[in-house]
């Protein structure tokens, strides 16, 4: 992966597959330059046994193949910067995965195009779950949620091309001033 935002696009699919009703995505940039990306869902969660194996590239829930690289690749890129990945999960409650990146590290990926990732995520699952995005940093903060805009759409799908582009532009405008220094 060439961007942290691409890792997000990848691991959010796990929450969707887990049958979550709500997926809350957060990016917090601390004053000392540590970027924490977390994805919290209320999907089916993982058993302690699965949680123990989930970082292995040879663990996957699909039945067609025996490898799954989403989490291992995320962990590798976080650890290369001196950061780490935390996963908490409870069966029936949901999962929280948090990846920390030390942005001053030469090995840190750029944050990348968060707006395109959110547009792609929402377009892939326009009816459910509800997604929210919160970004916080020394330069400001923003909130976005599909729940908030669904009302205004009165039944028009979030996957309509015009709506997808509106979401993309609206998020891009707000993220730029908060994370301007780490996007590219």
């Amino acid at each position: 992966m060439k961007e942290i935002a691409l890792h997000l696009l990848d691991i959010v699919q796990n929450s969707v597959t887990a049958g979550a009703a709500h997926v809350d995505i957060r990016f917090d940039l601390s004053a000392d330059g540590v970027l924490a990306m977390s994805v919290r869902d209320d999907g089916r969660g993982m058993s302690p046994e699965l949680l123990e194996r989930v970082r292995s590239p040879f663990t996957t829930t699909r039945s067609t193949r025996k490898v799954g690289l989403g989490i291992p690749l995320l962990q590798q890129n976080a650890m290369l910067t001196g950061g780490d990945v935390d996963i908490e999960s409870q069966v029936g409650k949901g999962t929280v995965i948090t990846a920390r990146f030390v942005t001053s590290s030469i090995d840190c990926l750029p944050l990348g195009d968060l707006a395109s990732t959110m547009a792609t995520i929402i377009m892939g699952s326009p009816d459910a779950p509800e997604f929210s995005l919160t970004c916080r940093g020394p330069a400001g903060e923003m909130d976005f949620s599909t729940e908030a805009i669904r009302g205004a759409l009165e039944g028009v799908s979030l996957a309509e091309p015009e709506v997808v582009q509106w979401i993309q532009e609206s998020i891009r405008e707000e993220v730029e001033p908060i994370f301007g220094g780490i996007i590219r």
């Binding site: 992966m1 691409l6 696009l9 990848d10 699919q13 699909r62 067609t64 193949r65 799954g68 690289l69 989403g70 690749l73 195009d113 395109s116 990732t117 547009a119 792609t120 377009m123 892939g124 923003m142 976005f144 908030a148 805009i149 205004a152 759409l153 009165e154 028009v156 799908s157 996957a159 309509e160 091309p161 015009e162 709506v163 997808v164 582009q165 509106w166 993309q168 532009e169 609206s170 405008e173 707000e174």
Partner: protein, 124 residues
């Protein structure tokens, strides 16, 4: 956030077209993009958004864009299936954003698949 009034305008503009779409579901052309770890790493995200942009620009009401997982040919990603009703499915491989306008114009609008981008051409 950009103004919700703008979203309201989008809703009004699309509402009529959407009714049209539901009536003609049998005529709908589907564009399906692989969006698993392999597809994403190979560049599927900008490809998908290029299809959305192109379809929006041309106001193609009979086309839907959707995503799928990994189908096991990771080395050929990004892969895109174009499924025109009544025709055989066409699979494009190693798709880049700059190839999208040609696929939309020649295949989806004019009915002639772009042979050189297909999986058949890549395997020879």
């Amino acid at each position: 956030m950009k103004s919700l009034a703008e979203l309201e305008a989008i809703r009004k503009a699309t509402a009529s077209r959407i009714n049209l779409r539901h009536e003609d579901a049998a005529d709908t052309t589907r564009v399906v993009i692989g969006m698993a770890t392999c597809g994403i790493a190979a560049g599927a995200r900008p490809v998908m958004l290029s299809f959305v942009d192109e379809i929006n620009k041309r106001q193609l009401n009979h086309v839907t864009v959707s995503q799928t997982g990994c189908i096991g040919m990771c080395r050929l990603e990004p892969m895109v299936d174009v499924i025109v009703p009544g025709k055989e499915k066409v699979t494009y491989v190693h798709v880049k954003p700059e190839m999208v306008s040609r696929i939309v114009a020649e295949h989806i609008v004019n009915g002639r698949p772009v042979a050189e981008y297909t999986i058949g051409a890549a395997e020879n």
